[in-house]
């Protein structure tokens, strides 16, 4: 019942406007600033930028690849820097705490999704339950 070691950091991108649009269509958040170049420029931005929930989703999935999709019990993200076309994102994480709660073995992990500049796009925290067979569900 030990926590599996974090996998290697995973790289995504360079991201394109097409990636942004696909996420918007899938999520249902069609705010134009994330796909409409004319609208984004008129609002003072150099181009559209991604919906924050896209990189939040990418980071969440990286964590479930590590600790199991069935085992997640909490996922929280804070949005930091915007993500732009051409950005390359890197997801990584580390174990913060392993403990027992109401008869379940749990682990809290800290997660981070950075841009190629080193800037943080999203910061995340998650709780997973641990089973004796590790990340297998």
């Amino acid at each position: 019942m030990t926590v599996p070691a974090p996998p290697a950091a995973m790289v995504f991108g360079p991201l394109t406007r097409t990636d942004f649009v696909r996420y918007q269509g899938a999520s249902g958040d069609m705010v134009p600033i994330h796909h409409d170049e004319t609208f984004a420029r008129a609002a003072g931005f150099p181009s559209p930028f991604s919906v924050g929930m896209m990189q939040a989703g990418v980071l969440a999935n990286w964590a479930t690849d590590w600790l199991g999709a069935e085992n997640v019990r909490r996922y929280r993200v804070r949005f930091k820097e915007q993500v732009w076309p051409g950005d390359v994102l890197t997801c990584s994480g580390s174990v913060e705490r392993e403990y027992e709660q109401l008869g379940e073995r749990k682990v809290d992990v800290a997660l981070i999704c950075t841009r190629q500049t080193g800037g943080v796009a999203v910061q995340g925290w998650a709780t997973f339950v641990l089973y004796s067979n590790g990340a297998q569900s």
Partner: protein, 149 residues
């Protein structure tokens, strides 16, 4: 400008079907190749999947507009999902309700007041058990957000 009287506003209950094709589409859109999302007959939903509740809500079930947050100065600050067991699988029908659960101010590091608004959505299964909760935190800043990449 945030309308503080929105605190406690609740939407109507709404239904949300968790569907295999939607889970698969969402996995593609969030750049995942995890077979738990893509291959399983009764695929499990991704940790952020419940954000697709937008498709199941209408004006009567989504109380967010009662907050009247300024579009120019409004940002999505944080998002949290809590699961009281494994996340819902394909084939699950959820009953959900959104409530404006908190409104509070904080002083910004560069001056100015930031107003935070939380909307909590509770998701129940067919037996009425609370299976998941989503909490969205929006913030209204006292000036428009930076536009520099």
């Amino acid at each position: 400008m945030v309308d503080r009287s929105a605190l406690g506003a609740a939407g109507e209950w709404f239904e949300m079907d968790v569907e295999r094709g939607k889970i698969r589409e969402f996995a593609r859109a969030t750049l995942s190749d995890n077979p738990a999302y893509l291959a399983d007959e009764r695929a499990i939903s991704e940790p952020t999947f419940l954000t697709t509740m937008i498709f199941w809500q209408d004006e009567s079930s989504n109380p967010w507009d009662t907050v009247a947050m300024d579009q120019e100065r409004g940002l999505h600050a944080e998002q949290e999902f809590t699961f009281f067991g494994p996340p819902p699988r394909a084939g699950t029908r959820l009953k959900a309700r959104s409530t404006i659960s908190a409104i509070y101010d904080k002083e910004g590091r560069r001056g100015g007041t930031m107003t935070f608004v939380e909307m909590t959505t509770d998701f129940h299964d067919a037996d009425g058990a609370l299976v998941a909760q989503s909490k969205m935190t929006g913030v209204e800043t006292s000036r428009p957000p930076d536009s520099a990449p």
